[in-house]
């Protein structure tokens, strides 16, 4: 039920502390001033309406890709191909955005999103079927499909869908297909609310419905365990669970791509680059494979990612430093032995049992 305990919070903060120390050393050794970097990181992430809006914008696709990844993990499939789903979802949502005319705003946006989700889901159908009926490891097939997706969308933007004679890009989406941007000078758009609602819905379905229980019966850990003997023993078709889980996972990846195109970029071009699918894996783990945790972790990640852009702009430190920092953080947070090591202190044990009193 509730997987968050005081110990986890403590470990996260300990991880943050260690990460800060490592960052301090890294930044100092490259000849920069760490306190200045910290200041800009904070300002870029949290100061002023525009920066906050941009942080939320950065978090939007991450919420969806993290939820998509954790759903696949929890049905027992190790799906790392969300980035591919995101690409194809973005391409086809963009295509639907200019292809269908004479539609109302709501119906056009809905249609584009549904097309993006369907294509994203279909993208995951192949690895799911290969896993279930041919025994091909979904880890390998989804990694390969990530590359295929990049080449495929680049071909489509350069060939069949190309509209611009100068640059390899599709036509701009119609105004009826746009997700509205609310704040001036910010790419924050209404897609953020879609992402949050979808994640909350995922939380409800996974944890509170029998459908979610059937999906999870074959997995629910970081290590995929499909095909699950437990599921078949209970009479739950684990093949069906695995395929449905992968389809939902792919649909959410497609949704992330669709929102990116409909809400921010507004057209698809060959050089459009996504890496939120990979970040989503880390964020899903950071959020303890819970959608609500994924929202919180995405907001945090989005803020420091945006802060990283600000640091890049204001100082000599490259914004890639943020990726280094996040990786170090994940490294410490996922180090289970540290959690175990903390248990020997009685104060931790006491606080842990106090904060994680269960309702059951």
């Amino acid at each position: 039920m509730d997987k968050f305990s005081f110990k986890d919070v403590l470990v996260t903060f300990a991880g943050l502390f260690i990460t800060t120390l490592v960052a301090w050393v890294l930044i100092t050794s490259t000849g920069n001033n760490p306190s200045e970097v910290a200041k800009y990181l904070y300002e870029g992430g949290f100061k002023g309406t525009r920066n906050i809006a941009n942080s939320l914008y950065q978090a939007t696709p991450l919420i969806l890709t993290a939820t998509a990844t954790l759903i696949s993990f929890r049905v027992g499939m190790f799906n790392i191909g969300i980035n591919g789903s995101m690409y194809v979802g973005a391409l086809y949502a963009g295509w639907a955005g200019y292809r269908f005319t004479n539609l109302g705003h709501l119906s056009h946006v809905t249609l584009c999103i549904l097309i993006g989700m369907t294509v994203g889901a279909l993208w995951m159908l192949l690895p799911a079927l290969l896993r279930v009926y041919a025994g091909v490891s979904e880890i390998i097939s989804t990694i390969i499909l990530n590359f295929v997706a990049v080449l495929f969308v680049s071909y489509m933007a350069n060939g069949p869908f190309r509209a611009d004679p100068i640059a390899p890009a599709t036509a701009r989406i119609l105004e009826t297909a746009e997700l509205k941007q609310i704040f001036p000078n910010s790419q924050f758009n209404t897609g953020f609310f879609i992402a949050v609602i979808v994640a909350i819905l995922a939380h409800f379905v996974l944890n509170k419905t029998t459908f979610g229980y059937e999906l999870r019966s074959g997995g629910d850990g970081l290590v995929g365990v499909y095909p699950s003997r437990f599921s078949s023993y209970l009479g739950i078709p684990s093949d069906r669970s695995a395929i449905i889980g992968m389809l939902i996972s792919g649909a959410l990846g497609g949704l992330a791509g669709a929102i990116e195109v409909l809400g921010a970029v507004r057209y698809f071009f060959q050089e459009l680059e996504f890496n939120q699918g990979f970040d989503g894996i880390l964020i899903g783990i950071l959020g303890k494979l819970e959608p609500i945790g994924a929202i919180i972790a995405s907001l945090f990640y989005g803020a420091i990612k945006n802060g990283g852009f600000f640091v890049d702009y204001k100082t000599d430190v490259a914004r890639e430093i943020i990726i280094v920092l996040i990786s170090i953080l994940i490294f410490f947070v996922s180090a289970q032995k540290i959690v175990k090591g903390l248990e020997k202190y009685p104060i931790v044990k006491k606080l842990d049992s106090f904060f994680s009193r269960k309702k059951m």
Binding site: R229, F230, G235, M360
Partner: protein
Amino acid sequence: MSIKEGEIVGIAGVEGNGQTELVEALTGLRKASRGKIMYLGEDIASSTPKNIRRKKIAHIPEDRTNTGLNTQLSIWENLIGNSYFRKPLSSKGIFNLKKVAKHANKLKEDFDIRSPNVSLKVKSLSGGNQQKVVVARELSEDPTLTIASQPTRGVDIGNIEAIHEQLVQMRDEGGAVLLVSAELDEVMAVADRVGVMYEGQIVKWVNPKEVDQSQMGLYMAGVTE
């Protein structure tokens, strides 16, 4: 072979003589290559595990950690594996978590599962307590037939007694029990009738009160006079 209500039938034999396959065929986890399994006048030989479960056949599998439980799930999630789909635990596909908690805590008390609460993951329990989770779930639905395969493997002495008592209680309440075990003492002590399995066949039916251990040993080695 046949099992009637109100009796415990034991299957004894050296491991690897077809006991696992027999149980898997009976519970639908493996397709029977030929023959019939008649249950209350119905052939269930080609039925699915789901349909067999709905006919009130319980199965305590020999492989606890992979088949009997998903150790990543919590205790309550493992306890409701055979009853999650029906009222009062859920209605229209949505869990009533209060009823689920009540159900799970009742089983925890009844079967003496030692754990501070039912939200802990099953992997944090000891082997004996894990087995009690399996037994609690399987016996909670008032099964007509209970198929117990190695039900006390890896369980400590106190809990072995408790599990035996529960099987005997199932019989006394009019249920039928099939007990498959490699522990000869267990089969001899609990079962009313014992079939000795050798190379995939039941070679001898004995009354456990009338034969001694050495005689059983000969039967299990395939010697039937």
